[in-house]
């Protein structure tokens, strides 16, 4: 359903995608919609791909969003990058194995300096360890007690943990509709 | 027939030599303290004789020169300053000296200072000036060669320029003792007024005044020549610095007064006046004003405790120079009064620094702190000294500063008045920086076992603190002495009050009302609920818990904003200028030697030929 107006616009994104794919054969890219592109890159090639993006004036890194796929046993890291010149938003997807000792990624701190904080965030909540980021061990948001439980993983049983931590919450087992303060 | 003046002058030197030769730990301290006490006793005893006869006189002939010594009111006051602060410093040194040669040279410099104050002719003045310089230089030599060399060179430069001035005077006037020089120059001024040509031409007077200014400016630490003071004051046995900065800088001030006594009328006739002040005086005053500002600002930016007080001592001497420069009878009396109070509180401060360095072994601000609980006596003395130096009413610092302000502003000198006001605030500023870094705040763990002052130092500090308070509450005591110099009653008023017509200050009244004020505050304080003592770490840091590992006090680089505001001015430094001159002279010497004594005979033979040529041509 590439209509004229939308087609015209997405033609520009398609040109950007083809330009980048030329230089990065290992990646697949497609245009999601106007001003939004998506690439899937194998985990070990992520640094070269990001340097490539940086050279093609994709200036800002917006976020590193880790998504937990317990069924596939993988964590998907989405590097969201914005280019001011092209006015387009790029999502670079990579998949890494889910287990704690295997979920390791090289840091991209030197390409996009802001990545340092996002990587610490990902590490705190999802347990993805980024080598080369010296602030990895530095305590960040979570308190000491929650340091190694990586709360935002899907397999983390939040309610059970809360009951253990704040002992007084025995009323959770009641049914919710006649809940009286 | 040893005249008492000789005893006063030479006992320190003799006891110093004995102490140096004996070199027995306990005995040499006793002898040296005796050596400092005897002249003080004689001076106090001389006070009675001075009430009856105008002055005590003594003369002796050595190798063709007739040396005269005279003790009259002005020299008595300065000698008393040297006596009291010297005695306190020697007491202090009893506990801080390690080897005996320091006693020899400290007492030698004390002899030099006594000699200067009692000398009545230029040659003995110069000789004792050299003895003082050499004594104090040897005290600094052991600790740091560069600092001592800089100090020695600048003061010897001063001494030699003084010698040149003495030479010119000797050539023109023919005599050397003060009285004849004063008379001849006075007649010379009268002759000039009547229109006939004078004995000394205009540029002669300029040269003599310039040379004397350099000589006394170096010793007093005036602005362009002050670079030696911070290094010299900090690189020596700290309790000796009490004497070094308290007394020896007064020799420079006494020298400025000598300029007034000897050349005063002649310079007045030669260069005339600006407003009320004589033109040559205004030069001294202006340089003094700049010294206040430069000394004060640099003192605030220092990281080393001794350097801070060295610069502060320079800026305080700047006050005295302004007082002398303005030249009216009242301002000279105010300057001398400030000289007394400066000697007292500066001596006290350096004794305090000596205790701190002795007990903690540290001199940098960044590794000191929170000593108020550990050294209560020293802190009490510091509190008195701070109130006195910053010029807080009940103490002597304020009395002399008040007198100085009134005298200078009364001669309607707006710029000088502004500079002095700026100085009073700077005194405030760097003192609190010192107290904050050393006494208050979090104590580094290794300072927990610091003991309080040793006994001799405590006594010395006690004497000076007591004098600070007594002269503060009863300024009249000093005022009566000062009036004797000019003969007439310039500072009127009772023992508790200074009354100079356009301003009155009553020390006792202020102390009473301050005490009542504090009592009222105390009543309100004790009405409130009981007070719970809290450790240093129990403090509000945005709710974050704090432990002793945190550095809770800003000791390092306390006045960073001030450094940024003054960044432009701090680039100019006279210290680097003198260093470059020294290096340039040495390179010149090196090239000179290589060219002249280059070692081959033909060149030397050529020299002979050239000399022969000159002999023949010049028609010798």
């Amino acid at each position: 359903m590439a209509n004229g107006q939308e087609g015209g616009m997405s033609m520009r994104e398609q040109a950007i995608v083809d330009k980048i794919l030329e230089k990065a054969p290992y990646a697949e890219g497609k245009v999601r919609r106007e001003r939004r592109i998506e690439f899937t890159v194998p985990a070990e090639r992520i640094r070269d791909f990001l340097t490539l993006l940086k050279k093609n004036n994709f200036e800002l890194m917006l976020q590193i969003t880790p998504v937990d796929w317990p069924n596939d046993g993988e964590i998907e890291l989405i590097y969201q990058i914005w280019s001011v010149t092209h006015r387009t938003h790029v999502m670079v997807r990579t998949r890494i194995p889910r287990e704690l000792e295997k979920a390791r990624m090289p840091t991209v701190k030197d390409i996009y300096p802001v990545a340092e904080t996002y990587e610490r965030d990902a590490h705190d909540f999802f347990g993805v360890y980024f080598e080369g980021n010296w602030k990895m061990e530095m305590p960040w948001i979570l308190d000491d007690t929650e340091q190694d439980i990586y709360p935002l993983r899907k397999d983390f049983d939040m309610l059970q943990y809360v009951k253990k931590k704040y002992k007084i919450l025995d009323r959770f087992d009641e049914n919710k509709d006649n809940y009286v303060i | 027939m040893i005249n008492e003046l000789m005893i006063i002058i030479f006992t320190p030197l003799i006891t110093g030599v004995i102490a140096w030769l004996l070199d027995i730990k306990g005995l040499r301290e006793g002898i040296s303290i005796l050596g400092a006490a005897v002249p003080l006793a004689y001076l106090i005893q001389a006070h009675q004789t001075l009430t009856s006869q105008p002055s005590i006189q003594y003369s002796i002939v050595i190798s063709g020169f007739k040396f005269e010594f005279l003790l009259y009111h002005l020299s008595w006051i300065f000698a008393m300053i040297a006596g009291v602060v010297g005695f306190a410093a020697v007491l202090g040194m009893a506990s801080t000296t390690k080897d005996s040669y320091e006693w020899l040279f400290a007492l030698m410099s004390l002899t030099g200072v006594y000699g200067i104050f009692l000398a009545d002719d230029l040659i003995s003045f110069f000789i004792f000036w050299e003895i003082m310089t050499f004594g104090s230089f040897m005290m600094v030599l052991k600790y740091n060669r560069k600092a001592s060399l800089k100090y020695f060179l600048l003061s010897v430069l001063g001494a030699y320029s003084m010698l040149l001035a003495i030479g010119i005077l000797y050539a023109k006037v023919g005599a050397l003792d003060f009285t004849t020089i004063q008379q001849t120059l006075y007649q010379d001024a009268m002759r000039g007024v009547l229109g006939t040509n004078t004995l000394l031409s205009r540029n002669d007077m300029l040269l003599i005044f310039g040379l004397f200014l350099i000589a006394f400016g170096v010793k007093a630490g005036m602005f362009p020549l002050h670079v030696w003071a911070p290094d010299a004051y900090s690189e020596t046995n700290q309790s000796y610095t009490a004497m070094f900065s308290g007394v020896l800088s007064k020799a420079g001030v006494y020298g400025m007064l000598v300029i007034y006594i000897l050349l005063g009328t002649r310079l007045m006739y030669q260069f005339g006046r600006i407003g009320a002040a004589p033109k040559f005086g205004y030069v001294i005053a202006f340089l003094g004003g700049i010294t206040i500002i430069v000394g004060g600002l640099l003192a605030a930016l220092q990281e080393d405790i001794r350097k801070l007080f060295a610069y502060s001592s320079i800026s305080q001497v700047g006050y005295i120079l302004v007082g002398i420069g303005v030249g009216s009878a009242l301002s000279i009396e105010a300057a001398i009064y400030h000289a007394i109070s400066h000697a007292l509180f500066k001596g006290l401060f350096f004794l305090i620094v000596a205790t701190i360095v002795l007990r903690t072994g540290k001199t940098e601000f960044k590794d000191m702190g929170g000593l108020a609980e550990k050294m209560p006596i020293t802190f009490a003395m510091t509190f008195v000294a701070i109130l006195s130096l910053a010029g807080i009413p009940p103490l002597v610092g304020f009395a002399s500063k008040w007198l100085l302000f009134e005298a200078v502003i009364h001669e309607n000198m707006p710029i000088l008045g502004g500079m002095i006001f700026f100085g009073s605030a700077i005194g405030f500023v760097y003192l609190i920086r010192f107290t904050y870094a050393v006494w208050f705040g979090q104590r580094p763990t290794d300072l927990d076992d610091t003991k309080d002052t040793p006994i001799p130092l405590a006594i010395a500090m006690g004497i000076l603190a007591l004098l600070n308070v007594v002269f503060g509450i009863a300024p009249g005591l000093v005022a009566t002495e000062l009036n004797k110099i000019f003969g007439k009653e310039i500072i009127k008023g009772t023992i508790w009050e200074l009354n100079i017509g356009f301003g009155r200050y009553n020390g006792l009244l202020i102390t009473i009302w301050l005490v009542t004020g504090i009592v009222i505050a105390g009543i309100i304080y004790f009405l409130g609920a009981k007070v719970r003592r809290v450790p240093v770490t129990d403090t509000y840091q945005g709710g974050n818990p704090v432990t002793m590992e945190y550095n809770l006090t800003i000791r390092r680089n306390f006045f960073l904003p001030l450094k940024e505001t003054l960044a432009f001015w701090l680039r100019i430094s006279f210290d680097r200028l003198y260093q470059d001159i020294g290096r340039w002279v040495e390179d010149l010497a090196e090239t000179l030697r290589n060219y002249i004594y280059n070692g081959n005979v033909q060149a030397y033979a050529w020299y002979l030929a050239i000399i022969l040529l000159i002999l023949a041509l010049w028609g010798v």
């Binding site: 939040m158 931590k165 704040y166 303060i181 | 009981k530 509000y540 974050n544």
Partner: protein, 189 residues
Amino acid sequence: MVDWRLFEPLFEFARKRSLWIVSFCTGCGGIEMPPLMTSRYDLERFGMMANPAPRMADLFLITGYVTPKTLKRIIITYELQPDPKYVMAHGSCPLNGGVYWDSYNAIKHLDKYIPVDVVIAGCMPRPEAVMDGINKIMEMIENGTADSWKRYKENYEWYKKNQDELFGEGWREREARRWIPWLMDKKEE
């Protein structure tokens, strides 16, 4: 020292009419403070003034959900305040965890850890509700029932037990030392 019972009514009136708020806005209630202070609702009419230092403040406003990290700071600030001190909790989060009832990171009952005088219900009460709360606390001061600080002092062990249960023993030193290895001057390059 002196027994001031005779002047107690005057002191109570003075405490009521000059409540200094320690400006410690946790959670989403902080945004309610400006309208209270400025011209529309103007708390200054009642002599209330925002004051940064806990040493001089009396009223301690907890204006939203409280995470364990913030609770540590709240406890320390609370203990810094001099004695007749009052605590007001805004919204349902300090009451029973509110919308974050099942979140691992929000405190469920604030008054298990520090005594609370007045709680204002509402998932962020409007300024009028806060004004009503303040009137309530003024009344309590007036008739002397605002004695949360006495309760804290008397059964301090109970509060301490709850705190240590949540944070573990000696949490203050641990919290202070947690960041030291990463401080700029402490880190050996």
